[in-house]
């Protein structure tokens, strides 16, 4: 409740149009504190549920650090409505504590000016940590703070939002962050795959024991196997079987003609 015990509620006259639209055509909005509202006022405004959030976009775990109550609750409301998992804190110290945890949120919105630890210091500390998946950091500043924006981006912030912020802009910036985190995760996956592939290639580059007589090779488990089986298991190569002219001469002398030269004959 407000200190004077009055709260705001939105009311409008009954109309076939949507509440927001009907207010707009009147030229001005009708709004008054609930305590002064006559009882039984018709057509209490239906809360406008807007689904501006991109369909199919995965929700993001978001940390908010903002000491101003109204900004914090507003940030929280917009982001929660978009389906994000939001954790709101009131100080830089709280934010820093959470960002150090192993399951820290992937995206953080940090107010510039906060008690104890300001947003800039949180950005610096987060960036000083080595992480395989660094978080996406958006700082909140006042629009007169260009120098703050430069310092913040220099310290490692990814983006910024100026106060008073626009709800659409907030969504767009968070969406940029979500895309960046998705790209980062995809890249990390590719790096892992490449690392595993490289490991396989290294196996083939290592010393491979081969029998001097029958040409069987000893595999990684210590068993002897045919060289083509081993190679097929460790690479993408496939074998097509044939007989070389020398073997043809020995094995099938009746089919061998001297004119064949050295060309192999496939069977």
């Amino acid at each position: 409740m407000s200190s004077s015990g009055q709260r705001w509620e939105w009311c409008h006259e009954e109309t076939t149009e949507s509440p927001a639209r009907s207010c707009r055509t009147n030229g001005r909005r009708r709004c008054w504190p609930a305590s002064s509202r006559t009882t039984g006022a018709p057509g209490r405004a239906v809360l406008q549920k807007r689904d501006c959030h991109k369909k199919g976009a995965a929700p993001v775990r978001i940390l908010i650090a903002e000491d101003d109550f109204s900004s914090r609750t507003l940030l929280e409301a917009v982001l929660k409505r978009d389906g994000h998992d939001v954790l709101a804190t009131v100080s830089g110290a709280q934010a820093w504590e959470i960002m150090q945890q192993p399951d820290a949120p992937g995206l953080a919105i940090l107010d510039w000016m906060m008690p104890e630890l300001d947003g800039l210091e949180v950005v610096r500390r987060v960036r000083s940590r080595q992480s395989a998946s660094p978080p996406y950091l958006i700082m909140l500043t006042t629009k007169s703070g260009k120098a703050d924006i430069v310092a913040g981006l220099d310290a490692g912030a990814d983006d910024y939002l100026t106060k008073p912020f626009d709800a659409r802009e907030l969504r767009a910036r968070v969406e940029v962050g979500r895309r960046m985190l998705a790209t980062q995760a995809a890249l990390a996956g590719k790096v892992r795959e490449l690392g595993e592939a490289l490991e396989q290639v290294r196996t083939l580059h290592g010393i491979l024991p081969i029998c001097a007589s029958c040409k069987m090779v000893r595999n990684d488990a210590g068993y002897w196997q045919q060289v083509e089986v081993y190679v097929a298991e460790h690479t993408e190569a496939e074998f097509s079987h044939g007989i070389c002219p020398d073997c043809m001469r020995i094995l099938y002398p009746e089919f061998h003609t001297p004119d064949d030269g050295d060309a192999g004959e496939e069977r």
């Binding site: 004077s4 109204s70 008690p115």
Partner: protein, 164 residues
């Protein structure tokens, strides 16, 4: 700004402050252009002057635009403002005589940000003035600036229909 559709500009990393300032100058709105040309905070050198008469007590249209005409969001931000800012103004009054101005500056900053959210442009101006005076060490103006901040706060609440 529709970032979803594509970027407008780029900067190569590591960010060079001069290059960044140039890009920001190109794209950031000028202080007085945002929200219909009347809003904003006092420019450098203007600190201490009363806001021009065109600066509205309550820029409802600007607030609605930022909140996408969403009544639920407006309810949240207005109730948050009405509930919290009287406390912040009281806290500011208490710390004003203190010699450590960090808390005073932070409170003025908070009031500035919160009033900007609801479109309380004159209160925002007054809070920005006080914040600037603290930063510049103009201590003899603090009493007068706080009085005008208080006055703008009362005016804003009245404009919002809240009986003092």
């Amino acid at each position: 700004m529709c970032l979803s559709a594509g970027m407008n500009d780029y900067l190569s990393k590591p960010v060079d402050p001069d290059a960044l300032a140039e890009v920001l100058d190109t794209w950031l709105p000028e202080g007085k252009e945002e929200g219909g040309g009347l809003n904003g905070e006092p420019a450098a050198g203007q600190a201490g002057d009363a806001p021009p008469s065109e600066v509205p007590i309550w820029d409802q249209a600007g607030m609605w635009d930022r909140l996408m005409d969403d009544e639920e969001l407006a309810g949240i931000v207005l109730n948050g403002f009405l509930e919290d800012i009287p406390r912040q103004v009281e806290a500011l009054r208490d710390v004003l005589p203190s010699t450590d101005h960090r808390e005073t500056e932070r409170l003025a900053h908070t009031i500035k940000g919160a009033s900007a959210n609801v479109g309380g442009e004159r209160l925002r101006w007054a809070a920005a003035d006080l914040e600037k005076a603290l930063r510049n060490g103009d201590l003899n103006t603090l009493g007068r600036l706080f009085a005008s901040l208080e006055e703008e706060h009362v005016q804003l609440r009245a404009a919002m229909g809240v009986v003092p």
